[in-house]
Subunit: 197 residues, 2 copies
């Protein structure tokens, strides 16, 4: 059984091969995300994605069908929102802040931050905005009780986006020097206040 | 006296000409900001900035000297930070939220949001980050009292950045449907809590 991540190595059993396949898939997604943060959708080539992921273009096709399907996948927040919102409502603020920081630190990817690159993608930016609204903001809204749920969801998401920008893009040195649990303690109560006022 | 904004009209006195000159200057800055949110620093031409501002390339040079000086100006937060922080500490949270929302609504420009486009500018993104740190975060830090001032300043700025992204880039429909004073009432207390805990 060929393992796509190395291209050559034989797996002893099924598990290592599956893990390598999963790693390759993630490397391709990471490469596509990286490029989508730096150049317009229309300018990104299959070759550039493959080169950045360290795989061959046919392997990208094998995993994702075609370039547009892969980019559509990267422009969707569906899976990320599921993980971001995977906590009981009364501790959701802490969970969201922790999930965002750990995703940035451990996977080098933020679950929702790519919405900030919408202007660069011109008309494709609207896809990103529409996905963000339905898959993140409205999904969170559906979890909330009480008045102004839609507005409160957008304000909570705003706080998360800001933390993502300050940590991952502006690279605030004080933020980055702070242990994650202390950041959660400081920032999550404000997020929670919008969720359960 | 020729007024640059119209290119032809004679001013009766000094004031209208000065106003038109100021409008032209602002139109050029707005055009440069617009382009910097959509393409890498290195790809932006003087001609494109002039075309978008509706003026001639020589007029851009007259106002800003050269393209790099103009882009350096747009990559600086100096003036914007002065306006953003122009309030007493005990009401600074409200002032910053209001200033950000009114700048977006009334001038179509956010005082600090362009930091999010740093990744697109590659090495020039570092200039944006360094400016952001010294001109925004550290300037706010200097205003704060008590422990962890640097961290608290970054968290307050994070909240503002998030509001800017949600309002101006993700274009959250609930946020945009809400009157500005109500948004300030909901969001500013969280910002203020970092400034004066």
């Amino acid at each position: 059984m060929t393992t796509p991540a190395t291209g050559q190595r034989q797996a002893d059993g099924g598990a290592p091969a599956r893990r390598d396949a999963e790693e390759t898939r993630r490397a391709i997604l990471r490469a596509a995300r990286h490029l989508l943060a730096r150049q317009p959708h229309a300018d990104i080539t299959l070759k550039a994605i493959a080169a950045r992921a360290g795989v061959s273009p046919p392997l990208v096709l094998k995993y994702f069908g075609n370039k547009d399907a892969l980019l559509a996948r990267v422009m969707s927040f569906e899976e990320d929102a599921a993980a971001l919102l995977d906590a009981p409502l009364d501790s959701l603020g802490r969970h969201m802040v922790e999930h965002l920081l750990r995703s940035q630190l451990e996977q080098g990817a933020d679950p929702i931050l790519r919405i900030v690159f919408a202007p660069m993608h011109r008309e494709d930016g609207e896809i990103l905005r529409a996905n963000f609204r339905t898959q993140v903001a409205e999904r969170l809204t559906a979890r909330l009780e009480g008045p102004d749920a839609g507005l409160r969801a957008e304000l909570a998401v705003a706080m998360l986006l800001g933390l993502g920008v300050m940590f991952g893009i502006a690279r605030g040195p004080r933020l980055r020097a702070e242990p994650v649990p202390r950041l959660i303690d400081r920032y999550a109560p404000g997020v929670q206040a919008h969720l359960t006022p």
